[in-house]
């Protein structure tokens, strides 16, 4: 299970700088019943993917082809989730969600100015980029022993692991976004009379908003991925702790329940952020993100 965490802790941002709005695209059509239908179709297809997975899972579990009988059926797992939610599991979901949101936000807030610094000053970038990449490559779980030594086993210790993961992911995305700003916009602003500070606040800042939002999405994903590592630090509650404890008692259905709930929470948060960013960066000449 930790392998999963490490792998996703290294995931690369999938978006570069937004492509320049090249040739005339004609007036953009937005809204309308056609768009709504397309959205419904997309939603249904997404659901179909999940249903397919559950079906394959059901067949595999019922046929007992893998797992030596330790692969529970979807029904069993959903039953555990359903009864568990009324029985303390909902509280774990809430605690984990709050941990992720709060500490990832702290990480992003700390990373944005650093990303600006790196993106805007070539000297800072040259000096700090290798360092950032070094720390970014470290899996958060490897830090657990050190965090326990220096920060104890309280909430702060868990927060630091989440913050760490979010911080370095955000720094990289923000600085790559800013470094990718097209020269023509900076020059246009300069010839209209912008001084250095105005270029920063009126060109670089608005240009970087989509990158910050992308960074937030990626960081939340990494935050959820690092959650188990964070809650390894002697946590009594939270979904990571649920998985740990269930694993210790070989309560496999509950392990699956914890994993599925983490995935669902991450999915919901990502959808919310995507909803927000579509509205915030309407200007971007990009079909679907």
């Amino acid at each position: 299970m930790p392998e999963v965490v490490i792998a996703s802790g290294r995931q690369r941002p999938d978006t570069g700088p937004p492509p320049p709005p090249r040739p005339p695209a004609g007036p953009a059509k937005r809204g309308g019943p056609r768009r709504g239908l397309a959205r419904l179709r997309g939603g249904l297809l997404g659901l179909a993917g999940f249903l397919g997975l559950v079906l394959v899972w059901q067949i595999t579990a019922a046929a007992e082809v893998v797992g030596n009988g330790l692969l529970p059926t979807p029904g069993t797992v959903f039953e555990v989730i359903w009864t568990g939610l009324g029985n303390g599991l909902a509280n774990d979901v809430l605690i984990s969600s709050r941990r992720v949101v709060v500490w990832v936000s702290v990480g992003i807030a700390a990373a944005v100015p650093v990303g600006f610094l790196l993106g805007w000053f070539p000297i800072a970038r040259a000096a700090l980029n290798p360092l950032v990449n070094f720390f970014r490559a470290l899996p958060p779980i490897a830090l657990v022993p050190l965090v326990i030594v220096y920060f104890g086993i309280g909430e702060l210790a868990r927060g630091i692991i989440l913050m760490y993961a979010a911080f370095f992911a955000t720094v990289v995305i923000v600085f790559e976004g800013i470094a990718g700003i097209e020269d023509k916009y900076v020059r246009a602003a300069q010839t209209l009379g912008a001084n250095r500070i105005e270029v920063l606040t009126r060109v670089v800042l608005p240009f970087s908003v989509p990158h910050i939002l992308t960074a937030a999405r990626v960081s939340l994903g990494i935050g959820w991925a690092s959650l188990v590592a964070a809650e390894l630090v002697a946590a009594q509650d939270g979904l990571g702790a649920v998985i740990q404890n269930a694993g210790n008692f070989l309560d496999i259905p509950r392990v699956y329940a914890g994993i599925i709930l983490i995935g669902l929470c991450a999915l919901v948060m990502d959808a919310v952020l995507r909803f927000i960013s579509v509205r915030l960066v309407r200007w971007q000449d990009r079909g679907t993100r």
Partner: protein, 268 residues
Amino acid sequence: MTTTVNSGGLTLDRVSKRFGRGAAAVTVLDDVAFDVPEGEFVAVVGPSGSGKTTLLNTVAGFVDPDAGQILVNGKPVTGPGPSRCVVFQEYAIFPWLTVRKNIEFGMRLRARRRPAAQRREITDRYLELMGLTAFADALPKTLSGGMRQRVALARAYAVDPEILLMDEPFAALDAQTRETMQEALLEINQKERRTVLFVTHQVEEAIFLADRVVVMSARPARVQEIVPVPWRGPRNHELKTNPEFIELRRHIETMLRGGTPTPRKETT
């Protein structure tokens, strides 16, 4: 041609620019000197890659010359600024701002700040002049290339620069839109006379728009000849088929191909 102390307009005083060092150095601009008197529209034509854009970037202040200097209203250029606003070939209007906000951009900056009421009035005027009023609140991504360049022109005029610099602003447009834009530029410049330095590789466009055409040589760029354009006042595309126009065009195109020995420079 040597510098005369100019009361207004733009003076290029023996400007040279080299890129690279030592044996690998390439001279891009060689002793380029000409004036753009206040209120005049001067076009610069030259073969592709002859350093026209470098010339314009030097005037804009993005590139420092190795020798010589550039004077705007008698003051030397030291860096980019709103006294020499540039309209670029690529669509450089800000995609996150609406058409109106784009045009207002320069008037919100410290260098050319104007009070809100005046800003609105000026913006409304250029929206109207450029036929953009209906698109005031549109985002650039919904506009065609020609419309985007209209916004760029309006934005440049709105900061009221001493010199307008245009770097092949219509080169990315299709032929038809290009003609429409040439007319739009002539029209706005008729109503709001500005000093314009317009760089293009199209001889026809240069003659059609300008009062004078500066003909550059292939790299390193030198001034081959400064050709006065005899027509004044409103022009339309009929002019392009006028025998005199065609003759002038042929003359310049021959020069650009290096067909005739460089004639003596003439000035008006």
